[in-house]
């Protein structure tokens, strides 16, 4: 009888431990799910489900865990730059050239490629230029190209032959650029617009 009582107590205790472990583990595995959820386009992960009422419970949980208050896709597209054009994960020692055509936007929209430390909660990256994004506002500072594409270097250290204006500082350990398009045209939302190409050049 005594043995049964101890056994029952252990089971209750282990059940409680299982429940506590689940609450500790959920934010972690939901972050992993978030990093896999969406359409892969040139190494950019695009999730168009933010803020919607018709998502699965799992997606709602993942979005709430990682992207509270993100816009509906019709109003803004968020894409995480995770891999280069060869399919390799971005690394802190990589020197990348990011090339894009001017994103098609509805009136009064803007776009940006912002540089983050990929660890939660995705802080901006400390750098000597105090520069955090290439965007609609500073794109005119990029060196012009004959094909009218926009192109800049994304790396933790600025290569010697690159002008400050053509460089977006990356995190040295965990680089993650995020491309955003506010008031995007349907071609961006539907994946018909070519996402920026992230090409490793070192």
């Amino acid at each position: 009888m005594k043995v049964n009582a101890i056994s029952m107590f252990s089971i209750v205790l282990l059940s409680l431990a299982g429940f506590i472990a689940a609450s500790a583990a959920a934010p972690i595995w939901l972050k992993v799910y978030w990093l896999l959820d969406g359409e892969d386009n040139n190494g950019w992960l695009t999730n168009t489900s933010y803020g919607r009422s018709d998502n699965s419970a799992l997606r709602n949980a993942s979005n709430a865990n990682m992207a509270m208050g993100a816009h509906l896709a019709e109003h803004a597209i968020y894409t995480l730059g995770l891999k280069d054009s060869d399919g390799n994960t971005l690394t802190g020692d990589g020197v990348y050239r990011i090339t894009l055509s001017p994103p098609p936007l509805k009136p009064f929209g803007f776009w940006s490629v912002t540089s983050y430390d990929g660890g939660f909660p995705l802080p901006l990256v400390d750098n000597p230029l105090d520069k955090y994004a290439i965007n609609s506002g500073n794109q005119h500072q990029l060196s012009p190209r004959e094909d009218r594409q926009l192109s800049f270097i994304y790396s933790a250290e600025k290569p010697e032959d690159i002008k400050d204006e053509d460089w977006l500082p990356a995190h040295p350990g965990n680089p993650m650029p995020i491309f955003r398009a506010y008031n995007p045209q349907p071609s961006i939302i539907e994946g018909r617009w070519q996402m920026p190409i992230i090409e490793r050049i070192n």
């Binding site: 209750v12 282990l14 400390d126």
Partner: protein
């Protein structure tokens, strides 16, 4: 002994699985409830407040309740309580072409409405924000009625600022927003 170990292990796994299901289903409401509480720790219902600076690498996003903030966006937030009456968002003038938006999010983390440059332009306007059961008279001076499907609505405000030189201008424009309850608005505007 072996049977007891197996029973214990089964109890742990079952509780972990049930706990995980609970976490998934309750996550949106819990996260947004925490967001609401964080806002109410800093400001009252029906009051819009703004981040004081442009985000840069020296600011921990958590200190402002953010994930992945942008450097080129200035933010604001309000928590509207529409249980007793609607609120009026008195939006000031914004430079023509400058991106701005009020994104309204309900208690389930669903985006329910927008007010912004794309839909509303850049001139000063008054917006009546109503909850799910509103059936009153709308004052003539209201430009648009905006509906939500819950009685508590979170407003995430964003306005574009190109750089530090542009900060003051964009900051002044976002601080030109006023929020009043409908009765306060009627008293002030005599209608």
């Amino acid at each position: 002994m072996k049977a007891n170990i197996l029973k214990g292990l089964a109890a742990f796994v079952a509780a972990f699985l049930l706990g995980s299901v609970y976490q998934v289903y309750s996550m949106p409401e819990r996260v947004i409830a925490q967001t609401h509480q964080d806002l109410l720790d800093r400001q009252k219902y029906n009051e819009i407040a703004f981040t004081e600076v442009m985000f840069d690498a020296s600011i921990d996003p958590r200190s402002e309740g953010f994930t992945a903030p942008q450097n080129d966006t200035l933010y604001g937030a309000a928590l509207f309580d529409l249980r007793k009456e609607p609120v009026v968002i008195m939006q000031g003038r914004v430079d023509k072409g400058r991106y701005w938006v009020h994104e309204l999010v309900n208690e389930r983390n669903e985006v329910v409405s927008y007010i912004g440059a794309y839909t509303d332009g850049f001139e000063p306007k008054n917006y009546l924000l109503v909850g799910k059961n509103f059936s009153g008279i709308v004052p003539d001076s209201i430009d648009r009625v905006v509906e939500t499907n819950t009685d508590i609505a979170w407003d995430l405000y964003r306005i574009y600022a190109s750089d530090k030189n542009d900060f003051k201008k964009a900051d002044a424009q976002r601080r030109d927003i006023q929020v009043l309850t409908l009765s306060e608005y009627r008293d002030r505007h005599n209608n």
